[in-house]
Symmetry: C2
Subunit: 273 residues, 2 copies
């Protein structure tokens, strides 16, 4: 059972299908916190969670959930977010007077609808929920903005493809499970969290260690606003060729940093074109 | 004239007042892009723009605007985002059947309203806009979620103070102007952008240089998803005691990195308690 945020037809559902296959059973959750909770309670064995987006950046609250619920990242998946304008079959754009979707999706597609001032933008809780409502209530004259999986699942016709303004909108999802710290010698990537005292050059020293151990940094993010002065937190992703190199770096970081934590060790995903 | 995103009574207006004083004239803009545009067109001499938040993280699209519109950061301001529930005077919470606010504000205060299931959450374009509508249309039975400046400005009564779930919600705003590259020798902080080739240890080398020049890192952010493989972008903030140390580091970074750009040199702001 894979816990996902959102209903069937959502982008999280798309990732679950692409990663685990279409046969995989899905556990619908109404929030990211619920995904974390279902993993903790062992209602689900794995979960899918968006973690960063090429337009909006890192979703820090999800890092906090992974950390506080002690979840483990076991994989990652990059999805191109492709927003289609869809409605019940046999209608044209002129027949549509309202489009329903998640507020962020509406925002990302607002430019497209400037050419159709007769269409009112209406907020919905989720991209897929808007599509589902149209199907279930057979709502004529209402459109949805959602991913291709939603049009398939709810038998909607695509009136316009890829109507989002910024075309390159990639989201990185992590695949999660409840932590049980199995050794993952096939991994070539790890997500780490640590804190450093504000002694000059402390981060440079850590990066030198990673470099000497042949680890390569693919992401670094300091926590945005320092609550405790002179104390800094970092989220870091590293890739490596040999697990033993990573193991050596891990031992050194445990000594050099405080609150060192491995959020996950896994196989790196491939960004789509 | 200070360009702000949002109408009077918004958190951006609050920052403009705190930073420039209450007498300062305000130019209302409906998007961050419009703020950037008004600065470029010299309709405004300065602007206020949210850049990162302790819950949601960095607002990357705003970094992109500063970069592409060639704006200059000349200051920063940290504001505690305090969300109050307000309505026309002489009503109790029981009299209110709808609360209007920005979708993110509704989300951040959703826990509070679980105790009041008779109150429907309704999306509005802006926290302050909801407050303004209530005042102008004398809407009884409707509440708004907004900052303290909105209740003052639109004569609303606060029914419940600080109703947001996560109490520590700090936002960092930058103060912007059109770039004219004046020398800012009183600065003790700078925001930089640069790119690095994916040669092992290239970031560590840059941080060693900053450290050798006595600069201290207060923020580092790699761009979230790498569009061009083997090419990394970074946004970095540094603080320093002596401008000449920073000048030396700047010269070195110009040689060591590609697309090196100073987004601003300014006096560091003080986070509130």
């Amino acid at each position: 059972m894979v816990a996902i945020q959102g209903i069937k037809g959502s982008f999280h559902h798309q990732v679950a299908q692409n990663y685990f296959g279409v046969e995989q059973e899905i556990l619908i959750c109404h929030s990211f916190r619920e995904v974390a909770n279902q993993l903790k309670n062992k209602e689900a064995t794995t979960g899918v969670m968006a973690i960063e987006n090429s337009i909006a950046g890192t979703i820090l609250p999800n890092y906090a959930l992974i950390d506080t619920f002690d979840l483990q990242i076991i994989g990652e998946y990059f999805l191109n977010i492709d927003m289609h304008f869809m409605a019940l079959p046999d209608q044209s754009i002129e027949d549509i007077h309202e489009v329903h979707s998640h507020p962020i999706a509406l925002l990302q597609c607002a430019n497209f609808f400037e050419d159709y001032p007769h269409i009112k933008l209406v907020e919905s809780s989720d991209t897929a929920f808007a599509a589902k409502q149209i199907k279930e209530k057979q709502l004529k004259g209402i459109g949805a903005l959602a991913g291709p999986i939603a049009s398939d699942l709810y038998d909607l016709e695509i009136l316009a493809k890829s109507v989002h303004t910024v075309k390159s909108n990639k989201t990185r999802f992590v695949i999660l499970k409840n932590k049980d710290l199995e050794k993952a010698e096939l991994s070539n990537k790890a997500s780490l969290k640590f804190e450093l005292d504000d002694t000059p050059g402390s981060l440079a020293t850590v990066l030198n260690v990673l470099n000497n151990c042949k680890l390569n940094l693919t992401k670094i993010q300091s926590l945005p606003i320092i609550e405790q002065p002179f104390q800094y937190s970092f989220f870091v992703d590293v890739v490596f060729e040999k697990y033993k190199h990573y193991e050596k770096a891990k031992k050194l970081l445990e000594i050099m940093t405080t609150h060192f934590k491995v959020l996950g060790e896994y196989q790196a995903g491939e960004p789509q074109e």
